[in-house]
């Protein structure tokens, strides 16, 4: 495919400003603002950090129709793994055209959403055939070559692209030789993406129009991680310099750094296992994070991340994929200075019937009434029978739209703006005949009042009857709770003595909320039981196929 960049000049520009480098350390918590200026008159998309990105499956946010993801203001950054589109060549999104083809194809708003394109789903740790020098394997019929990737990227014009990198998904642990190869390939594939585009002679456009994030490779080897980063900063010579001119160093063309925690955890687990001479087939499961992965503490990851970042400039965005809990998010903000996290764990909670219910900094919402655990759960397993007659809103930590208008709340709780807690009547009804207005006597100009929230008992019912609406409502709710959580993080960091206050609040949070996330475990069990009670035969086979291709996030259609 031809480089189409010359026919559609004008990519958007991503800038990132740290408004408050709260500490002198390159790894302290920090506040920032990402600003994406499109090549038109529209205002820049501005997103505060620490923040989160919403993950997609086959390009769409699981369980959300377009009207629902528009309604959910928490959704700002969106990550699109491209591998499912490799099933058919050319990949369909490359055919869309226009100035924001991915936004158009998937329905994301160019004014609200920053769309990131990556080859692989960062949460997918399943075993794959080895990559080649000029080819990465993906979970689809075929992989992708660096040159094909480059052409897809220029055709899709994502706001941000994650460069291909050679992360092995063969069975760990990986040899030293394999690691060396990984570094070489990742560097060379980044360089390929940084090849300048051909410009007309009189054009003063940027020959490097892409906003590129790069994976921090090197596996669990500290030295290898350092070497990779140093390679990015090296001034290139001869052919290598020619390949990316007028850039001098690879890092000059890089906008952000990415850490995928799933392969890191898998490697760490494998190392522990080989030391213990037992080797469970951890890669066979599609329901990661497994217990094994969960056993890898955040503290084991932090030195690896620091080794990568140590020599790199501090003012670039740092993205972490597949953090497993809010506790981990807080530690990575505090100890590594991470700016953006994916929401995978919170979205996955919606798949298994968990309504999140927590805040940062913590607030007193009364005793933990559903269990006798010493710490509070992060949410509610709505499959549990205790919710069958529970007519409360989804979260105790938040108000719902309707009751927030009624009276002053004693504990000054914020309103959860999601469509489950604060539903609004439709702003219009499609009219199908000239007399349909008789059904709608109320004035269309009357201000819309919040409707009562959806109750736990209703969600409980929907979950037990396999109704998809349960997951839609929970997905919107959980993203909104995560948004409020990170907004709380930013508020604390903005405090004059931000770092110190933040550290105290993190300790309190860890003390307050159950980090083992037993409520997720319970929910997963209930989810499996309800799923198992379903039919056999064709439907079951369809479901297996669906589960296979959607990484275990599938729910009953």
């Amino acid at each position: 495919m031809a480089d189409v960049s010359t026919t559609h000049p004008g990519f958007s520009t991503l800038s990132f400003h740290l408004s408050c480098p709260a500490s002198a350390s390159p790894f302290g918590p920090r506040l920032g603002r990402a600003s994406l200026k499109r090549n038109n008159d529209s205002p820049a998309v501005e997103i505060d950090t620490p923040g989160f990105l919403t993950t997609t499956s086959r390009g769409v946010i699981p369980h959300l129709s377009r009207d629902h993801h528009r309604f959910t203001e928490a959704i700002r950054w969106v990550l699109i793994p491209f591998e499912t589109f490799l099933e058919r060549l050319p990949p369909v999104p490359t055919l869309q055209g226009g100035s924001t083809p991915l936004h158009k194809f998937f329905g994301y708003s160019p004014l609200q959403n920053i769309v990131i394109m990556s080859a692989r789903d960062p949460f997918d740790g399943r075993e794959l055939p080895p990559n080649g020098n000029d080819h990465i394997s993906s979970y689809s019929m075929r992989g992708v070559t660096p040159s094909a990737w480059r052409s897809y990227v220029f055709a899709c014009r994502p706001d941000i692209v994650i460069a291909l990198s050679d992360t092995p998904f063969t069975k760990p642990p990986h040899s030293q030789k394999r690691l060396t190869k990984s570094l070489e390939r990742s560097t060379s594939w980044l360089s390929n993406l940084l090849r300048p585009i051909e410009l007309d002679d009189d054009s003063n456009s940027n020959p490097h129009p892409l906003n590129i994030f790069v994976h921090m490779v090197g596996g669990t080897d500290l030295a290898a991680r350092r070497i990779f980063s140093e390679g990015l900063l090296e001034t290139l010579r001869d052919n290598e310099a020619e390949a990316i001119k007028p850039l001098k160093r690879l890092d000059d063309g890089v906008t952000g750094y990415v850490f995928d925690l799933v392969p890191l955890r898998l490697s760490l687990v494998a190392e522990i296992d080989s030391a213990n001479i037992s080797s469970p087939d951890i890669l066979d499961t599609t329901t990661v994070p497994t217990a094994a992965q969960m056993s890898v503490d955040t503290s084991a990851l932090i030195p690896l991340m620091k080794a990568s970042l140590n020599s790199l400039p501090t003012q670039k965005i740092r993205l972490v994929n597949s953090a497993i809990s809010p506790h981990e998010i807080l530690r990575l903000v505090r100890d590594v200075g991470i700016d953006v996290f994916d929401a995978h764990w919170a979205q996955r909670a919606a798949d298994i019937g968990v309504a999140l219910d927590f805040r940062f900094p913590i607030v007193d919402t009364g005793p933990n009434n559903q269990t006798h655990r010493t710490k509070k759960d992060l949410g509610h397993n709505l499959y549990d029978q205790v919710y069958a007659h529970d007519f409360k809103r989804l979260a105790d930590c938040f108000m719902d739209g309707a009751s927030s208008l009624g009276q002053d709340s004693p504990c000054n709780r914020p309103v959860c703006p999601c469509a489950a807690c604060s539903p609004l009547p439709p702003c219009q009804h499609i009219s199908h005949s000239s007399i349909d207005s008789e059904s709608y006597p109320e004035s269309v100009h009357a201000p819309r009042q919040f409707l009562p929230p959806f109750r736990r008992a209703y969600l409980h019912h929907l979950l037990h009857t396999h109704e998809m609406s349960s997951h839609s409502l929970l997905a919107m709710h959980n993203l909104s709770v995560l948004d409020a959580f990170l907004s709380g993080v930013r508020t604390v960091l903005a405090h004059p003595n931000g770092t110190a206050v933040f550290t105290t609040e993190v300790d309190k949070f860890v003390e307050e909320y159950d980090e083992e996330m037993k409520v997720f475990e319970d929910a997963r069990k209930s989810w499996t039981e309800v799923e198992r009670a379903r039919g056999k035969g064709r439907l079951a086979r369809e479901k297996d196929k669906q589960a296979e291709s959607t990484l275990g996030t599938a729910v009953e259609l």
Binding site: V60, I430, S434, F454, Y458, T465
Partner: protein, 416 residues
């Protein structure tokens, strides 16, 4: 209920009416989407409402099992439980007893069945059915009828019809004694299988009770009988039912069936077809159903229907994207469900306008040209519409085949 016929087709028996219930006005004829277990699959009630739907259906059998009457009572009824502020209709639970449970035994007392959860023998009587429907709190409730498959023959059909009449009396008595007559409107269900004589007897008996029922449903059809028989029974019932009561044909959802029923004088219909078929990747259009799973849609960047006002089409969701996600992602099911419900509503809304404007016969003709012009008109539909004075073949410029049998229209393969 306030029911008023506001326009009539000059040729066919079609009519437009205003039906005012406790939760607002619904304009008829209309199609009712089915929210079996208190949700249209994948959508929130606000989304359903935004599509222009003012009346939907819950299934009593399912609602009684889960969440159960206790929860519904605590919630203050099904409207509040599911957040639906418009009109709601519940069936009696009789149909599912027969279709879902192999062990149901009908006695004069009621339907005896094994609870699907505990296996305990459970009796659903006409009184119990009405009581459950009161708890659900639907605006329109249905009598418990003795349902037999429309393919059943022999004395059982007559027995079921006669029992349905007796059970109607018990439903009416219970309903009137409950003092809830003003909020919930009881409909009778005409039975009698495919036997015109039995149907006539049933119609006579039920029409005698007209002052005590708010409307009439036509049951026992759309169960695999020949289409030619289907329309003749439907016409017989619609012809005889009183003018000043709404007429509801149960379980009808294909576009051509709906328009034929409207032409015969039917006001309401329900079916799971448009929402169920959406989940399997079939989008309904005025030129026939599209099977989005077929490879021919894989690179098509056009929406399902550029004229369609549904959220999916008006937002430009491409067939290519739908092809990529349908049956894999719930969001694909949501998108096509929103479209299909809108399609049904457009089909009926355009019928309302055509009836008011005196152009309903033209509407029928133009629908059939667009929908069946390429594959041929179903003979039964041609005959059914001739019976009410519309000849589909009149004024058709191009040659159109008339196809015998029960054929509908379906996109089976990649041949285009």
């Amino acid at each position: 209920m306030q029911f008023e016929v506001i326009a009539k087709c000059h040729t066919t028996r079609a009519r437009v009416s205003r039906m005012k219930l406790s939760h607002g006005v619904t304009m008829l004829p209309t199609f009712m989407p089915v929210a079996t277990q208190a949700a249209i699959k994948g959508l929130t009630p606000q989304q359903v409402e935004s599509l222009g739907v003012t009346l939907m259906l819950n299934n009593t059998y399912h609602m009684n099992l889960r969440p159960g009457i206790k929860v519904l009572d605590d919630a203050g009824g099904a409207h509040r439980f599911q957040g639906w502020t418009r009109n709601l209709l519940t069936d009696s639970g009789g149909f599912q007893l027969v279709s879902l449970s192999k062990f149901t035994k009908i006695t004069e007392e009621g339907a005896l069945f094994a609870s699907p959860f505990t296996g305990e023998p459970t009796m659903l009587t006409p009184e119990e059915s009405i009581s459950i429907q009161h708890s659900i709190g639907a605006d329109i409730i249905m009598q418990l009828d003795d349902v037999v498959s429309s393919l059943t023959t022999g004395p059982r059909v007559g027995e079921a019809m006669e029992r349905s009449v007796r059970w109607l009396d018990r439903c009416i008595d219970y309903h009137e004694r409950s003092g809830k007559k003003d909020r919930h409107n009881l409909f009778a269900i005409v039975q009698g299988g495919l036997d015109h004589d039995l149907r006539d007897i049933c119609l006579d008996e039920m029409i005698k009770r007209k002052d005590r029922v708010a409307g009439y449903a036509i049951g026992g059809l759309s169960g695999g009988e020949e289409k030619d028989t289907f329309w003749r029974i439907m016409k017989q019932c619609a012809d005889k039912l009183p003018e000043d009561r709404p007429r509801y044909s149960m379980g009808i959802g294909f576009a051509e069936d709906l328009l034929v029923c409207v032409a015969l004088g039917v006001d309401m219909a329900d079916c799971v077809f448009p929402t169920r078929t959406a989940r399997f990747g079939v989008a309904l259009t005025f030129s026939g159903p599209l099977n989005l799973k077929l490879a021919k849609h894989a690179k098509d960047l056009a929406p399902i229907d550029t004229q369609c006002p549904c959220p999916t089409c008006s937002d430009g969701v491409s067939r290519a994207l739908l092809h990529h996600i349908i049956t894999q992602e719930t969001a694909g099911a949501h998108a096509v469900t929103q479209h299909n419900i809108t399609f049904q509503a457009r089909l009926m809304g355009q019928a309302r306008d055509a009836i008011i404007n005196g152009t309903f016969p033209d509407y029928l003709r133009s629908f059939f040209v667009a929908y069946f012009g390429d594959v041929g008109y179903p003979e039964w539909a041609v005959n059914a519409l001739r019976s009410v004075g519309v000849d589909l073949l009149d004024g058709i410029s191009k040659d159109v085949n008339v196809v015998p049998g029960d054929g509908g229209k379906w996109e089976y393969s990649d041949r285009s």
